[in-house]
Assembly symmetry: C2
Homo-oligomer: 797 residues x 2
């Protein structure tokens, strides 16, 4: 058998790429994810699955064998043998040999293994002992169901007698009531439960919950088993006792942990193939299961569902396609990055109360896909602003939604994202009509224009400053767990001060660019305030070679060289560059310090050294594990701010180097442990403190990073950024990238671009359809038309 590369990319399958992993053990935590608006499933290469659906809050239908905590998704999720999964035991009835597919729980080494991630499906292709097995899972566009397809082909010249046993975890559903049995009418194992509760009011709330889990087959099983413990017996999950007998015992679960196992005895002639289809998901009652069965079981139904699911995901196509000489880079940017951006923008991380800052930034990304969604999202967010200008902690997306977890803690930054993210929307659309939209408030039916809402938000930010003019941090800013710097009402944040200045400047710039009607007085006030903040930050927070991170309630400046841990934070430097607080000299000092102290092979850490003990005037961030999340990981959201700032400063080489480092690739997969299909929220940092773990992916695909990466690619790297007059051309290719071509969809016009760096010129040359463009702005692009854009950039920059 030829040795396959560990990971490979097939770029041209149905216009989308497929990423393939040829080992179930080298990247044991590697996973793909599928979603629709109602559910998400993460599928691990070994067959473990993490899935949840919304009703409207996240709920499960496949659980661990013990009572699990309800929580938000955690980083570095860990698998164990009884973790929920979808496994297929396969027994050779002639030889007695038994394996499990795709790999767990028996962990038998297979002749060949391929875990394949596409846009709308996750597939395993496996060969073993003369059998070819394909396992595939899709979701549907709208329904709560996993669609599984299992096929086995006899590659040998002899008749084979086999039994196939799909084993789908149902797990510990409820201490009040849980049971499972085979339902002949549905040809399904149906598990029943009652979501535990104790208060009468919850009974009425819970009445509509989907407390059943079904496993439905298109083929009548030879036998079945629904009792997890008895199925496993003394043999264990890796050698289940129930599989010792010729036939499963048709055993139900009665206040016992349910499982869905069926047995299909199958005789396979030489070269014969046999296909099975299975549906797995939650339901309220049998009638719902019957509807799902009618709708999705069968060859035609399956194809229809697959197509409509693909159509749904195709809505996620974004405005840029690139063609560089780096195939991996192109594949990720052209396929997987927009897919992840669409996931964020379309389903808002499957939360009913996304944090306001996430909601606004995720929807900034949607401006590159479907700007109407961005428009509606910004309006919705502003409708939850209060009259005093404060933005809410989270945006409630559902009438029954409540602010949960971190959204019950007061953060001071939500307002700054409005103008910053609005600028992308305006760049993409020039839709200034948005500014005149009349919007009510959370605490008032009074309507004010969008622009007025922005003004209130900015005024609120300006007022939330101390005697020095620095922004109060309350119980956190962008950095949630920095919760004790200012909880007594005095501590201030460098980053938030700078972000406020940048928000003010951005708003004034937008008013200039798009001729937005605001009073001269306000405009001057904002320009002045931004400058004043920059001055105050310089006066109080510049310490030697970089900006400190803030001043605590008791007046202690932190994030300086004087501390042993948390000496330097990335965000104040990036945003000082954005806000204009940092002089060129300061910038070069900062960049040098970051280079020495924060940059690692996997990217730039957000602080260093990571804290190893609680600092009571900083807070929860210092209690997190060193190198994890905000405590000094390569936190990509912070890293991409730095990249964006570097682009503004003309540091094109460094910017691209750091941007490229954060992208998952074939090259870094064995370090990160993940496949190149999404950017995780972090890679382990604390590079100098815990080098062994450094670089590992969090495997968390929820991150505000994505829309900023895309912004950097579109507006900075390619330099194809919208403005009031049209499309402005200002590419920022790194020296190493001699050429970059591609397509840019802009306000309906398709621009086929070709950017080249050449040695012999001194100023940029722009040709549109072979006509020279002098101003570097394409002003007359027509929606629906195609253009050829040639750009020649001087190589020496």
């Amino acid at each position: 058998m030829p040795k396959l590369p560990l990971i490979s990319i097939d770029s041209a399958v149905d216009g989308f790429s497929r990423v393939k992993l040829s080992s179930p053990t080298k990247l044991p935590d590697a996973r793909g994810f599928l979603w629709n608006r109602a559910m998400v499933m993460q599928v691990n290469c070994r067959g473990y699955v993490n899935s949840q659906f919304m009703q409207p809050e996240p709920a499960k239908y496949s659980y661990a064998p013990n009572m699990e905590a309800k929580s938000f998704i955690q980083p570095e999720h860990s698998y164990f043998s009884h973790h929920p999964g979808r496994f297929f035991y396969l027994k050779d009835e002639d030889s007695g040999e038994m394996i499990s597919l795709p790999y767990e729980p028996m962990r038998v080494q297979l002749d060949s293994f391929s875990f394949e991630l596409g846009s709308s499906d996750i597939t395993w292709s496996i060969k073993h002992s003369g059998l070819q097995i394909t396992i595939k899972v899709n979701l549907t566009k709208d329904d709560l169901v996993e669609c599984w397809f299992f096929s086995v082909t006899n590659l040998t010249g002899t008749v084979r007698n086999i039994s196939i046993f799909p084993y789908f975890s149902i797990g510990y559903m409820s201490w009040m009531n849980q049971s499972a049995t085979y339902n002949e009418k549905l040809n399904a194992i149906v598990a029943d439960s009652v979501t535990p509760y104790q208060k009468v009011t919850d009974y009425f709330k819970n009445k509509q919950l989907k407390d059943k889990t079904f496993f439905l087959s298109d083929t009548a099983p030879t036998a079945w088993h629904a009792n997890q413990k008895l199925f496993e017996g003394e043999g264990g999950l890796h050698q289940p006792t129930a599989l010792q007998a010729d036939l499963l015992g048709n055993v139900e679960a009665r206040y016992e942990t349910p499982v869905a196992v069926m047995q299909f005895q199958q005789r396979l002639l030489s070269c014969e193939q046999k296909n099975y289809q299975f549906l797995f998901g939650p339901a309220k009652d049998e009638a719902e299961i019957a509807i799902i069965k009618e709708k999705h079981l069968g060859y035609q139904q399956r194809n229809k569902a697959r197509e409509s699911y693909q159509d749904y995901l195709n809505q996620g196509k974004a405005c840029l396609t690139v063609n560089s000489d780096d195939v991996g880079f192109d594949d990720f940017v052209n396929h997987w990055l927009p897919r992840q951006m669409f996931y964020h923008g379309d389903v808002n991380r499957l939360s009913t109360d996304p944090q306001t800052r996430n909601y606004i930034q995720d929807n900034m990304g949607m401006a590159f896909i479907n700007s109407e969604v961005t428009r509606q999202a910004f309006i919705l967010a502003l409708s939850q602003q209060t009259l005093n200008g404060a933005m809410p902690e989270g945006v409630l997306l559902h009438q029954d939604a409540e602010l949960k977890y971190i959204n019950q803690v007061p953060h001071a930054d939500h307002g700054v994202w409005l103008p910053i993210c609005l600028s992308v929307y305006l760049n993409e659309t020039a839709d200034v009509s948005l500014l005149s939209e009349m919007i009510t408030f959370a605490d008032s039916t009074q309507e004010q224009s969008f622009a007025c809402h922005i003004r209130l938000a900015l005024d609120y930010l300006i007022n939330a400053t101390d005697h020095r003019g620095l922004s109060f941090i309350e119980q956190g800013d962008w950095c949630d767990p920095m919760n004790m710097v200012g909880y007594q009402g005095k501590g201030v944040s460098t980053w938030l001060s700078l972000a406020t200045a940048y928000a003010l400047t951005t708003w004034c710039d937008l008013c200039d660019e798009y001729d937005i009607n605001i009073s001269r007085q306000k405009y001057d006030e904002y320009r002045f305030a931004a400058q004043a903040i920059n001055n105050a930050v310089n006066e109080h927070l510049w310490h030697g070679q970089w900006f400190a991170r803030g001043i605590t309630d008791n007046g202690r400046v932190f994030g300086t060289n004087e501390e042993a841990e948390g000496k330097i934070f990335l965000n104040p430097q990036s945003w000082a560059m954005l806000s204009g607080a940092a002089s060129e000299h300061q910038q070069s000092d900062m960049i040098a310090a970051i280079g020495t102290q924060l940059i690692t092979p996997q990217g730039v850490m957000m602080l260093a050294p990571s804290y190893t003990a609680m600092v009571e005037d900083i807070g929860r961030i210092t209690q997190k594990h060193p190198g994890v999340s905000e405590n000094g990981s390569v936190y990509n959201h912070a890293a991409i701010f730095y990249v964006y700032a570097l682009y503004q400063a003309g540091q094109n080489n460094l910017a691209f180097e750091l941007l490229n480092k954060m992208l998952p690739s074939l090259e870094n997969a064995e370090v990160t442990g993940q496949l190149p299909i999404y950017v995780p929220n972090y890679y382990r940092g604390a590079y100098h403190q815990f080098p062994k773990q450094a670089g590992r992916s969090s495997h968390l695909f929820n991150t505000g990073t994505i829309s900023w990466i895309y912004r950097c690619l579109v507006e900075e790297l390619c330099g194809l950024k919208g403005c009031a007059k049209g499309l402005q051309i200002a590419p920022k290719l790194p020296t190493t990238m001699k050429r970059l071509s591609g397509q840019r969809l802009f306000r309906g016009a398709m621009v086929n671009f070709d950017i080249e760096q050449v040695d012999e010129i001194f100023t940029m040359e722009v040709l549109l359809d072979k006509q020279v463009i002098v101003s570097n702005v394409l002003t007359d692009l027509q929606s629906g038309k195609n253009y050829q854009l040639q750009v020649r950039v001087p190589l020496h920059g």
Copy 2:
């Protein structure tokens, strides 16, 4: 090797019995439990352990590998391979053979196995391949530490080279921070974590939490491993990869799931024995671990700790020892029942807010062990009564405690337990001074006498009745999940009405017996009210052959023969017998109906048929799994009420038969799945609906049953019940028990009794120290003295 019986009892070890189980697979869920005032551990025969400690709320130091929900202890707890446990891998370095002890996770069949439960220790004695292994665990009197002892002896004539690997689960501690490494100074693996939180206020609350878990050894390990996933590797827990190498790799966990594994390479000469001691538990910091080490590590320290722990448990000796011809019965009654009763009374189920009804009944049991505790508990409970007479839902035992879970739901019954349980205290002590204790209120510093508090409680109960004179049930009575009968404020409870009548009657009887000073008017009012309730119950709730269970908010009488499910409930019948509502004719009808519909081989079910679907005017009970908990299990608390009522009605044979059925024994162990060391809160019921599961133990040793069993044994079976004048003699032996002797400690006097049923007499004959007692009351017993009591009872009774 001689075949051992599956279960055996050694009755005379250090004055306590030892129960032994000779198979790890026949009763796979069998467990023992150890506790002190700060922690409890449940130890399963296969090595799984469930443990928690109080700080002040329940917390863990050994977790599952995923994020577990925090919840109250659930029935029929289920084990799985990654369930927390304390295992010992043992490798024969010469042959390469590997086993795990006591049984999990490798599940290798051992030459001989014995799981032994004593009062203060849990021990395994195992022989395999010429090695004798003993594993033992104790707790200490006060500290948060498991004390483990491991010994291995070479029974062969040759030198043996082995490695021993204790594997103690630490598991998923925290998403904020978790790590573990070896601490050379302590010779311990120490895992560190931060209890997850998000609000600043919780930081200060959590500051004192014991977030470390330590595993400390008396012997320096050859090597160690602290990283669960890497230890296990691809081999799995049943064949860990890390054990393939000669030495463990000294691997730490850094934001990875911790585990504590040490390797001890050992050369054993023929007949040589080697002992190890390990300490495992939670701690705040290293200093605490050092203190625990100093205090408990070492031979002498261990013995001292073991003795003081035994002394602690010896405080649980109760007032009765029996000697019948049933060895199992005697063993359970003399050893295990008082132990379980002491557990309830001394640590109140390790809850900081025990339900008031449980708290009062559990402390009723303490009157047989240490009546001073009962006295203080009753005073504490009454100090949390409100001025209007209402008793709280739960009794707060700690200043930081809060009413949780079920204690946030309003139940109507808490007041009735006061006089009922007080009667046991007065019977045991004649301490009428309690009635004059001055006690404040939850909502007032005003002081009132204990007797006045009782009056307020009874007045409150009398007033909480409808136009018919029946008691409102609110969102539940004794039966918590019967929460929708009266949640609209109209539904009434038969049981609570009868319990109110019984409480009133009991109080009046106590006032008569102990000459308690209450107003004539109140006394008459209470007697009248009790009669009126009995009449009302008869008028509205007698349906054919038994009493219904109540009337719902919309006026529907339920618990009658007209329904398909929930036709008959046990409690209304038992309490109609106690309250005097049921005539003799009614009683015999009821007893017959119960015999037909509720009695099963494992005891009497609390209702039948079990509900299989939600009934919206009854509530949550109907949603529980049929045959589980209140939905028609053999719920022993209800069953013992019936037994007590049968004794009052002179149904001595039936009473004893049902009492005996609920006691765990050698005979029923294979049906119940548990060992004869505690009475569980239920055995599975729904005997006619789900016969396969019927009889299974819940394995939950928290139950209000215990104090009532003990009361039945002391006051009814033996008939050695206290009264104002002294000890009243009225045994109620079943016909089958010809003779019963024993010791009864009563108000300090030790009465050695011998009760005999004889054919030839017609009235009971009582001899005290060979003197005839005419009145059947022993009036002159002196504290500190010993007496010989001979009782002859007519057999035809």
